[in-house]
């Protein structure tokens, strides 16, 4: 199911516009609010302020404070309210302000949102998309740089998306909100301000489709969110040394595109998975295991993991030493090539 970046959406009618990811997500929310009067956007500071990252900027003005509204400061109630709204026929798009503040809402997310369709045998679906500014890299205060994807991916009943650039954020958000299943939409904060010409494309590939953002022959780098950009940097450096790296943007962290992973690694015979979350029991283990299960005979080396360390997310000057650096990824590439 893997596709090349050029085919990530269609129709490619519209001309590219220069947008940051934060603006592209804002555009997607506008489209969604306009196309479906049942769609609601709410959370802490998303209304009047337009969100701490301005992702919801202008939405309240455009769609009114019935459709876009601020809530009191309580994450569990925000997600609990989303459940009740969904049961009353709405399509909630709540935001939790930062990754680390999803924890107070985990009970509602895991025990309620993820299970209500199952519990009611399909009578009460949960077409909820939780927008969660995620991951690190912006030297923010504590709890503002966390990577919760392993937890969400492990939770039956949730789907999980994590875009890596502005265009794909637009397309994936359309797809997530229109889905009748609950989706955790993890927005890489570190890429919010990255401006580039993007095409605003409708989703055309199924939920769970990864994409090759750089084809290559010698090894596959697998990543999501901001680490895709890092892997592209690595690939460029490696190319200078004649090492031709493929970069696979997973996009969907649940369901995972096992077939897409296998197709790439079957060709390259080597894989490095890169993520910001701590190593142990991170999603990299799942990716490595899937790749190994499907490409056991093809693999020339064990899948390498380059991840955050098993330590709490650190403050400012230590952050760049915690996150997978270009050097660490290059070392892993070298290890897999020399294995």
């Amino acid at each position: 199911m893997t596709e090349l970046i050029e085919r990530a959406g269609a129709p490619a009618g519209s001309a590219p516009v220069e947008l940051s990811m934060q603006q592209a997500i804002n555009r997607a929310l506008r489209v969604l609010l306009a196309e479906d009067p049942d769609t609601l956007v709410f959370g802490e500071d998303v209304g009047t302020l337009g969100g701490v990252f301005r992702v919801t900027d202008g939405l309240q003005k455009e769609f009114g404070d019935r459709r876009v509204f601020d809530t009191p400061l309580a994450e569990s109630a925000i997600m609990g309210m989303a459940v009740g709204l969904a049961m009353n026929g709405w399509r909630p798009v709540p935001e939790l302000q930062f990754d680390g503040f999803a924890y107070p809402a985990i009970d509602q997310i895991v025990n309620q949102v993820a299970r209500m369709n199952y519990r009611t045998r399909g009578a009460a679906p949960m077409p909820i998309t939780l927008r969660l500014p995620s991951f690190g890299g912006i030297q923010a205060p504590e709890h503002h740089g966390e990577s919760l994807e392993a937890l969400f991916a492990h939770t039956p009943g949730l789907k999980v998306a994590a875009p890596s650039d502005a265009g794909d954020a637009y397309t994936l958000l359309l797809q997530s909100v229109r889905s009748d299943d609950p989706v955790v939409f993890m927005e890489p904060k570190a890429r919010y301000w990255d401006r580039r010409p993007v095409q605003l494309l409708e989703p055309t590939t199924p939920v769970g489709t990864s994409r090759i953002v750089r084809p290559g022959r010698h090894a596959t780098l697998i990543a999501w969110g901001a680490m895709v950009h890092r892997c592209l940097q690595v690939a460029e450096l490696a190319a200078e040394d004649g090492v031709d790296l493929e970069v696979l943007d997973l996009r969907w962290l649940k369901p995972i595109d096992a077939a897409g992973l296998a197709a790439s690694v079957a060709r390259t015979r080597r894989a490095v998975v890169v993520h910001e979350a701590p190593l142990t029991a991170g999603l990299g283990a799942e990716v490595a295991t899937l790749v190994t299960e499907n490409c056991f005979r093809d693999l020339a080396a064990p899948v390498q993991r380059v991840t955050g360390f098993d330590v709490p997310y650190p403050a400012g000057p230590l952050e760049p030493q915690y996150l997978p650096t270009i050097d660490r990824v290059l070392l892993a590439v070298q290890r897999t090539l020399e294995y």
Binding site: A77, G84, D181
Partner: protein, 345 residues
């Protein structure tokens, strides 16, 4: 601080209510009582792995549910609202199926019943009621959400967050606390700072009502007022119905380890069904003969539900995979094949 002694120890009155309503309350309470007894028997026979009794709480549940309109309101229950479900018109074989462990949330249609799935997370469904109610107001409709929860649940953060949201958003929701004085083994005085759940209401700017939970007429009245207020845009109300859990917490529990059964006995003597029965006769709403007929019909219905649930088919194992998503995934299809492979061994 309201006292926790049962008020109006002697008798109750239903003079303020129409006779057909009070007879209906009696019928539901009687049926719930019988069904409760059947359920305990089924558990003893090993048909149910466990059961949570509603005995003694029938007035609190039936009279509150009866104050709602099942055509436009919505109920968010916990795991102990059998009598409310019955009064609200939920399909009861499907409801009781949860106690046979056939399906966690119950097998009734939650959306058609307008009665949420049975929910085992103490406090968890309370914010759902607020969300539903907010959604109702956003659409300009006039339905009211009612959330049941226990005295123990009142300690959970979710209940506070929900009440605050409801207050700020003036949501049409009734927070209905059945204070049965026990949260498993923990009594009110080690659970509720300040001693009263309803006393919390004022801090949220909403009316708080403490009502005798064994007085069906009083519960009906208090709930009807709260529902009417919510319906006309007056916002949320917190009702605390003071009652008593005369049975163990569940069939797995042994209350002799933590409470004096004399206390329970005192409350058993103040049985809500007995009180209502006497009040019906006193008010001239029914005579002994009419009630005997209701009793017989209740028994029959309870037995029919019992038979229905005892013989209901077990869900097929494939249902493990059917309801996880609206749009399933390749991975789940693959896992279903793994499951199938083993079934076919």
């Amino acid at each position: 601080m309201p006292t926790h002694e049962p008020e109006g120890r002697g008798s109750i009155t239903v003079d303020h209510l129409p006779p057909d309503l009070t007879r209906t309350l009696y019928r539901h309470m009687r049926t719930a009582r019988d069904l409760d007894a059947e359920a305990i028997a089924l558990q003893r026979q090993g048909v149910f792995p466990a059961y949570v009794s509603v005995r003694g709480q029938e007035a609190a549940q039936v009279a509150s549910a009866a104050a709602l309109d099942p055509e436009r309101d919505f109920v968010f229950p916990t795991y102990r609202e059998m009598a409310a479900a019955l009064a609200y018109g939920v399909e009861m074989v499907g409801y009781m199926a949860t106690h046979r462990a056939l399906w966690h949330g119950g097998l009734y249609d939650v959306m058609a019943s307008r009665f949420g799935a049975i929910n085992a997370v103490v406090g968890g469904p309370v914010p759902h009621a607020v969300g539903w109610a907010v959604g109702e107001r956003l659409r300009g409709d006039d339905g009211v959400a009612l959330a049941y929860f226990g005295d123990g649940a009142s300690s959970e953060g979710d209940v506070h967050e929900a009440m605050n949201f409801a207050g700020v958003m003036a949501a049409p929701v009734v927070f209905f606390c059945q204070n049965n004085q026990w949260a498993l083994s923990v009594p009110n005085h080690r659970q509720i700072a300040g001693g009263s759940v309803s006393a919390r209401a004022e801090g949220y700017g909403m009316p708080g009502v403490l009502v005798d939970g064994n007085d069906a007429g009083a519960v009906y009245q208090a709930t009807a007022e709260a529902v009417a207020r919510a319906r006309r845009g007056g916002g949320p109300t917190l009702i605390e119905a003071l009652t008593y859990r005369v049975e163990p917490h569940s069939t797995s529990d042994d209350p002799t380890r933590y409470r004096d059964e004399a206390d329970a006995e005192r409350w058993r003597r103040r049985d809500p069904l007995d009180l209502l029965r006497a009040a019906l006769i006193e008010a001239g709403h029914a005579d002994e003969d009419a009630l005997a007929e209701v009793d017989a019909a209740a028994r029959e219905r309870a037995e029919a539900i019992r038979d229905g649930v005892a013989t209901a088919p077990e869900p097929d194992g494939s249902e493990l995979f059917t309801h996880v998503f609206r749009e399933t995934t390749d991975e789940l299809i693959r896992q279903r094949r793994v499951w199938q492979e083993e079934v076919e061994l």
